[in-house]
Symmetry: C2
Subunit: 149 residues, 2 copies
DNA sequence: ATGCAAGTTGAAGTCAACTTCAAGTCAAGG
DNA sequence: CCTTGACTTGAAGTTGACTTCAACTTGCAT
């Protein structure tokens, strides 16, 4: 397959595919300078990247789970710890969602005065603050964790 | 309170507090050029920012829910739609978490050959790809300021 | 054989949310 | 009064994941 076919098939832009290849996340059969050709297995590789991203791995972390030839090579410990992080995150998001739903539905004039909202606010916010602090601890130099998108 | 007290109390660095003030997310009582003083209500304001961030709002979106004087002014429609997004996101994260847990525990030699893993991979990844495509649709020029994240 | 869309490259630009820097100001202790 | 350390400002730098650009090459259709 050529790059535009893969792009069309997966929805991943050609520029991203080139970028992923440079980062060692996917493999192509190209001689340098000529047009890339992708084996069908690139679809699996892209799926793995997508899964990793969805799980909150950086591209470097995803690559660390691939062998030189592009096959997966799983670091169980990293995955298990990411799963735990996900658990926590899911719980926090659920609390936030409750907060939003309440805020959107609650008829109180000012939410500053609605006790239910204040309670959810405090819970969700303190969770968020804790999380911020944890992240700062992991990066003691103070470099920003670039968005918890 | 002065800026370092607020920082200590909330865990939000002083630099961030200044940044938030410049962005109109929190208010201070300072005459320009002198030292900032914060009213206790700044803690509520910060909680609201944290909640918004946790819910996936951009700082601009958070600010759009504040009146000029810094009191919350909630856009129910935006909140409700963010709650729906959160629902979706939570479901996707749950699927991803299942995938991770399985990958971390599954004894198959190569995960490429484990059918359970392949199924979860496909599900989680396709969800992730769909999401990517949706986000790209919302940003057609690539220059739009309204981050959906 | 030729035109031109589609591909190639490295380098530079973008974005959000901060952080860091340089240069200067203020306030309290000694 | 003077030092010192916490504070002030605007400007510039950082991060990760891409995208865009400029300047060429390729390869299919005519």
């Amino acid at each position: 397959m050529d790059i535009s076919q893969v792009a069309k098939l997966t929805g991943v832009p050609a520029s991203t595919l080139r970028y992923y290849e440079k980062r060692g996340l996917i493999t192509s059969l190209a001689a340098r300078g000529t047009r890339r050709r992708f084996a069908p297995s690139v679809l699996d590789q892209l799926a793995l990247v997508a899964l990793g991203q969805a799980a909150g791995l950086s591209l470097d972390e995803v690559r660390s789970m691939l062998t030189a030839n592009g096959r997966p090579n799983i670091n169980r410990q990293l995955l298990a710890s990411k799963a735990i992080e996900l658990d926590t995150r899911i719980r926090q998001l659920s609390a936030v969602r409750r907060g939003l739903r309440h805020a959107a539905a609650c008829p109180a004039r000012s939410h500053a005065e609605c006790p239910t909202f204040r309670k959810l606010l405090k819970a969700a916010a303190s969770g968020a603050l804790d999380r911020q602090q944890r992240e700062r601890k992991l990066k003691p130099t103070g470099k920003s964790p670039a968005g918890t998108r």
